[in-house]
């Protein structure tokens, strides 16, 4: 059995927290640069140009791309043949967040109690989704999530009869409702199927897909394209100031569901769609 010490995990998490907040992955950066080239809305184009300038300054000066450096959300795949030594795995991840947000000069945006609202001071606890998988590897994906866009996310408990039309209409409804609040151009994560909470988790996971990836199922890939096209016909545009780029991408993740239902979750993300993965 393979062993891994939690000190290694903490160090990797710390590094990912900082990297994810200072530079977008190449696929996201390419998406934004392409959008700026084709945008025909005057104010929208101005917004996209300033986003490119912003990415460059962030990289050159090691300043976070956005001041909302997010809650630290993780998807962790633990190989069932792996043995983890040291502290608890969850504590090791939280320690990495604590160190990364401190040493990377990232914002501490977490309050301990939703009503009493005292800041925890170190951006912990993280939100961690675990999966047990075959093998002996440990794969950690971080997706720091800002709440300007998170607040505009929605769950729709659609019925089977709502079909593709219901899906298109619901995602479009969520985007129109978000308008300028979620910092368009958006990256739209959709979870389809499962149950109430799994749909939401899938929607978040969809945000971690590469911008240029397509769903392996042809009918879902087609739906991704159709919804993106519909969103970009709204004219909301970059910053909500008019333009053809309201969303950069739509990604759908699916799961089997019940005969009576078709849960749909829409997780909004702004253009600062940050994610990093490491396999240890």
């Amino acid at each position: 059995m393979r062993n891994i010490h939690t000190d290694v995990i903490t160090e990797a998490v710390k590094k990912m927290c900082i990297e994810a907040n200072l530079a977008l992955a190449p696929d996201m950066e390419a998406c934004i640069r392409h959008a700026a080239e084709v945008e025909d809305g005057a104010l929208g184009k101005k917004i996209l140009d300033s986003l490119i300038e912003n990415m460059e300054i962030a990289k050159e000066e090691s300043i976070p791309i956005c001041q909302d450096t997010g809650m630290a959300v993780f998807f962790v795949e633990v190989g069932q043949d792996l043995h983890i030594e040291g502290a608890g795995l969850t504590e090791a991840i939280n320690e990495g967040v604590r160190q990364g947000y401190r040493d990377g000069y990232l914002r501490k945006s977490v309050v301990a109690d939703p009503l009493l609202r005292t800041n925890t001071g170190d951006n912990t606890p993280a939100i961690i989704h675990y999966d047990i998988v075959p093998g002996d590897a440990l794969t950690i994906t971080i997706a720091p999530k800002g709440f300007g866009s998170e607040n505009m996310s929605k769950v729709y408990m659609l019925k089977p009869a709502d079909g593709e039309e219901g899906i298109r209409a619901s995602v479009l409804d969520a985007v129109k409702n978000a308008g300028p609040n979620a910092c368009p151009p958006l990256f739209v994560g959709v979870g389809l199927g499962g149950d109430f909470e799994l749909a939401a988790k899938l929607a978040k996971k969809a945000l971690t897909r590469d911008a240029d990836s397509r769903h392996p199922d042809a009918h879902i890939a087609k739906l991704e394209d159709e919804i993106l096209d519909l969103i970009n016909q709204t004219g909301i545009g970059p910053g909500g100031l008019g333009g053809k780029t309201t969303a950069l991408s739509v990604k759908i993740e699916t799961y089997p569901t019940h005969i009576a239902g078709m849960p749909l979750a829409v997780n909004m993300c702004c253009h600062v769609n940050r994610h990093r993965s490491v396999t240890l």
């Binding site: 809305g41 791309i65 450096t69 914002r107 945006s109 300028p180 545009g237 910053g239 008019g242």
Partner: protein
């Protein structure tokens, strides 16, 4: 149209600004977001005279601007960290009262409530939007920053900041025109 605007504001000058105007703001702005707004609002409500209400606020808000901002910490050698706008609508509950007390400008992003828009018109104010998610770029326009109140709130503390040529667009002007409503319609009409 690009205009240079000085803060504290001259309300006469603001009358000429129209939704869609691109402006460069220079002068003093105060950062405040959710927690600071709640605290200011409750302090004013608890005060029993006009004078006490004004004294309950940590700074004289007359003719001033609030920037809806919670920055990242400033690394050594920097004035401030990443410093872009947060969503303004979360402050809508508290805003009409502040505008009626003399607050004149707000810098944020996203939609406002009908009540805020009415208070903007009633008091001859302006709501500006800065580019959401451009915190690194916008931080370059902030030349000084000092926490002046509510230090315990961390990133949500109130900061007095000097800005120079801070880029923003007029979203709601003093006549109540709303760029988010007109810009999308205008764009769609231009494509037909």
């Amino acid at each position: 149209m690009n205009k240079k605007i000085q803060i504290p504001f001259d309300k006469e000058e603001l009358k000429d600004l129209r939704a869609g105007d691109y402006v460069y703001l220079s002068g003093t702005v105060y950062s405040a977001r959710d927690a600071a707004h709640k605290r200011m609002y409750e302090a004013v409500l608890a005060a029993d005279s006009e004078e006490a209400k004004r004294a309950a606020l940590p700074f004289d808000i007359r003719n001033q601007a609030i920037y809806y901002l919670g920055p990242t910490p400033a690394p050594e050698g920097h004035v401030i960290g990443s410093a872009g706008p947060t969503t303004a609508s979360r402050m809508d509950k508290y805003t009409p009262m502040l505008l009626d007390m003399g607050l004149t400008g707000m810098i944020g992003k996203g939609k406002r409530s009908p009540e805020v828009r009415e208070a903007v018109v009633r008091n001859g104010c302006v709501y500006f939007a800065a580019t959401g998610g451009a915190g690194a770029l916008l931080s370059k326009c902030i030349v000084s920053s000092e926490v002046i109140a509510y230090d315990d709130l961390g990133t949500e503390a109130i900061r007095k900041m000097e800005v120079r040529d801070f880029p923003a667009v007029v979203v709601i002007d003093s006549a109540g025109n709303n760029l988010y409503e007109t810009a999308v319609k205008d764009y769609l009409a231009s494509r037909k």
